[in-house]
């Protein structure tokens, strides 16, 4: 069961945007990657202080996840700039952070070699990465062996198994399904949920996770229907949803299918609350693609730009730099960087092992480091933030607003 659920909401975020049939493409990408590997490498930003502290940043800035990876790098740079402008690490004589960026090319093999290369080629104090759980799992393995701490927003529960150098400050995949079900209870006193999911590993495992948790949460699942991913027409499926009498619709879908589903629900004139989950759904691009039909749609995230005043400050700066609001992974990454700063200050050393020790005793409830749903970070022995929880979000007036749970809500949930 757990295994299923880990993969369940497993931030298949990246997959949500990537198309499914990839074999041909993968082949060409790999051959291309082989050629590009020489040209693209780590691009160390010049540090200004005498003894800068190297922080590795592993993100996919080319390949299928490139768009999000580029956003992550922007956030990593923003965080480092914020730290350095505030005077760097005081306990180390104002040492500046130096970001060592590497492109993992949305590819697991490249992730392994790049993580290795980054660690052996630079004196790193810590690493952040890699957005997609599939990539982070690999990077985390390499970090464990090299004894360099990695701090990540990836949500796979697998990252908390038998690891000492991996820290996950945000909600785990297994917590997402529960939050979704609880949100359905806000929509109606008698939540009747229709779960439609694509018949792939991602859809099947996530939907099974929901099915298992539903009875305990008092949510009735009235329709449980797999569909073939990449369909041309969502109308027949939505006809079935309509006939099921559901008042909430959980769509475990990749972006393209989700867009068709949302539009069709609107055309049918069906009054139903839609929960689009996480990943691609909580990105600024989703609204751009779906337009006003996205209004009122719900989802879940591990971070949102309105969770705290500090988050709003970060969001404003991120918006200034990139033109988009600060998406969940980017915001979580800024917070993670400040957790590293807190650890470095206390460790008084750039040594990765000492940084790891300091991270394991981290306990913050204020400042940028505590910028998470719940507002507190303290790692348990499995590297999990014991206060970590997801935040329920909803698209309202072109913005993604936190609506659940009550403590994190910045606006009431609109019952569309």
């Amino acid at each position: 069961m757990t295994n299923h659920r880990q993969r369940s909401v497993d931030r298949t975020s990246a997959n949500q945007i990537a198309p499914k049939r990839q074999s041909r493409r993968k082949f060409l990408k790999n051959t291309g990657a082989a050629l590009a590997a020489g040209a693209f490498g780590a691009v160390p930003l010049r540090g200004w202080a005498a003894d800068p502290i190297n922080i590795g940043a592993l993100y996919p800035t080319t390949g299928s996840m490139a768009q999000i990876g580029v956003g992550c790098v922007a956030a990593a740079k923003l965080a480092v700039d914020m730290v350095n402008e505030a005077g760097g690490i005081k306990s180390l004589g104002g040492a500046k952070l130096n970001l060592v960026i590497s492109d993992v090319q949305s590819d697991t093999t490249v992730t392994r070699t790049e993580t290795d290369r980054l660690i052996t080629g630079n004196k790193l104090s810590a690493i952040t990465g890699c957005y997609a759980s599939a990539l982070t799992l690999i990077a985390s393995e390499v970090c464990e062996r090299a004894k360099v701490p990695i701090i990540t927003g990836s949500s796979s529960d697998q990252l908390n198994k038998g690891r000492r150098f991996t820290f996950t400050p945000f909600a785990r995949a297994s917590q997402f399904a529960k939050a979704q079900l609880q949100m359905a209870k806000l929509v109606s006193d008698q939540p009747k949920v229709a779960v439609i999911f694509e018949n792939t590993a991602f859809g099947t495992s996530t939907s099974n996770g929901l099915k298992e948790l539903a009875p305990a949460e008092g949510v009735e699942i009235v329709m449980f229907e797999p569909y073939s991913a990449g369909f041309t027409d969502a109308s027949p499926l939505i006809n079935k949803v309509k006939a099921s009498g559901a008042n909430s619709l959980f769509s475990l879908s990749y972006l393209n299918d989700l867009i068709l589903i949302v539009r069709t629900v609107k055309q049918v004139g069906l009054n139903i609350a839609i929960n689009g989950g996480s990943g691609g759904f909580v990105m600024p691009d989703f609204y751009k693609n779906v337009g006003s039909a996205a209004e009122g749609l719900q989802g879940v995230a591990h971070w949102n730009h309105d969770v705290s005043e500090d988050a709003q400050k970060v969001n404003a700066e991120f918006k200034k730099r990139t033109g988009e609001f600060c998406f969940e992974y980017a915001g979580g990454l800024v917070a993670s960087t400040f957790m590293l700063v807190d650890a470095l200050e206390r460790a008084g050393s750039a040594d990765p092992q000492k940084v790891r020790e300091a991270l394991s005793t981290l306990d913050v409830s204020s400042g940028y480091a505590a910028m998470a749903p719940g507002g507190k970070v303290k790692f348990g022995p499995d590297g999990k933030n014991i206060y970590g929880r997801p935040v329920g979000v909803q698209w309202q007036n072109t913005d993604l607003v936190s609506v659940f749970p009550k403590e994190d809500a910045r606006a009431p949930l609109l019952k569309t």
Partner: protein, 290 residues
């Protein structure tokens, strides 16, 4: 219940119209030039991206961009025929198959490189609108697409039956050698046929854009259905492909409704197998080739 069935049939017919545009192109090329164009779906994709960029850069409605996509794809079709296909036409089928397949791969990966794998949508004022009649609804964007698709198919039929060039194309499709003996210039006929087929693919792209996302792999979704329709409606038979496409749309929709959302295609393929078992040449065989 009746309402559900009627709604499913409407949904099926509407999407069947789009399948028809793609399959008519494939069958036209097969009928006239006698090659299977595996890249037809990629030309739908190109049509979609042209419409997408016209819409986002210049604010041109995707439906209006038909005026651009159709001639553009027509010219591309003529060029492809003239510079590529013409060279491999011969007694051996293999080079033709490899050529169009390679073209498909090339276009797909070019699109990945140029446009990335992201989904692109255009949101028009009618994208989310639907006409409601009783408990039924008809999405406006799909209705428009269906009507235009039927108009274009009709126009092609008229062209094939009333113009000299059209008749020459039909003659070439019935018997290439004899038609050449009758003084028909095959290169010209082939180029026009290829151009017309690609223009239809381009039209499909523009018509899809208001309600479907453009991405590099989008053509493959539609080309699969198109190939089934072409076989079902008898290879080379334009009217057969049209009717088969509509039937497949309806079969798929009913399948999703009554069998399961992941088995819509099972119904379609069951239909194909049954047809092949009883009418090996497809539903359109023994009719006049149009």
């Amino acid at each position: 219940m009746l309402e559900t069935i009627v709604q499913a049939v409407i949904n099926g017919l509407l999407i069947g119209g789009i399948y028809a545009l793609v399959s008519i192109g494939v069958t036209l090329i097969f009928g006239v030039v006698k090659i299977v164009n595996f890249a037809q779906g990629e030309f739908v994709m190109i049509g979609m991206y042209i419409s997408f960029y016209l819409a986002t850069q210049f604010g041109i409605d995707p439906l209006l961009s038909l005026i651009v996509t159709m001639p553009a794809l027509f010219v591309i079709g003529m060029l492809v025929q003239h510079f590529l296909i013409r060279r491999v036409l011969g007694p051996n089928d293999m080079p033709q198959i490899f050529l169009t397949f390679a073209l498909s791969l090339l276009l797909l990966n070019l699109a990945l490189m140029l446009f990335s794998a992201n989904y692109r949508t255009v949101h028009t004022f009618y994208s989310d609108e639907a006409i409601h009649i009783g408990g039924l609804y008809i999405p406006v964007a799909k209705l428009i697409a269906f009507v235009v698709a039927m108009l274009l198919s009709g126009l092609l039929w008229v062209f094939l039956h009333t113009t000299d060039l059209g008749k020459a194309m039909r003659a070439a499709s019935q018997n290439r050698d004899v038609s050449m003996l009758m003084g028909i210039n095959p290169n010209r006929v082939f180029a026009v046929a290829f151009g017309a087929a690609l223009a239809l693919a381009g039209a499909a792209g523009s018509l899809l854009m208001p309600f479907y996302s453009a991405y590099p792999f989008v053509g493959q979704v539609f080309v699969l259905m198109a190939f089934v329709a072409v076989v079902l409606g008898t290879l080379g038979n334009v009217m057969g492909a049209l009717i088969a496409s509509l039937m497949m749309g309806v079969a798929e929709s009913l399948g999703i409704q009554f069998v399961g959302a992941d088995s819509g295609l099972i119904v379609v393929f069951a239909m194909l197998l049954l047809t092949l078992a009883f009418k090996p040449n497809g539903l359109g065989s023994r009719r006049l080739r149009s």
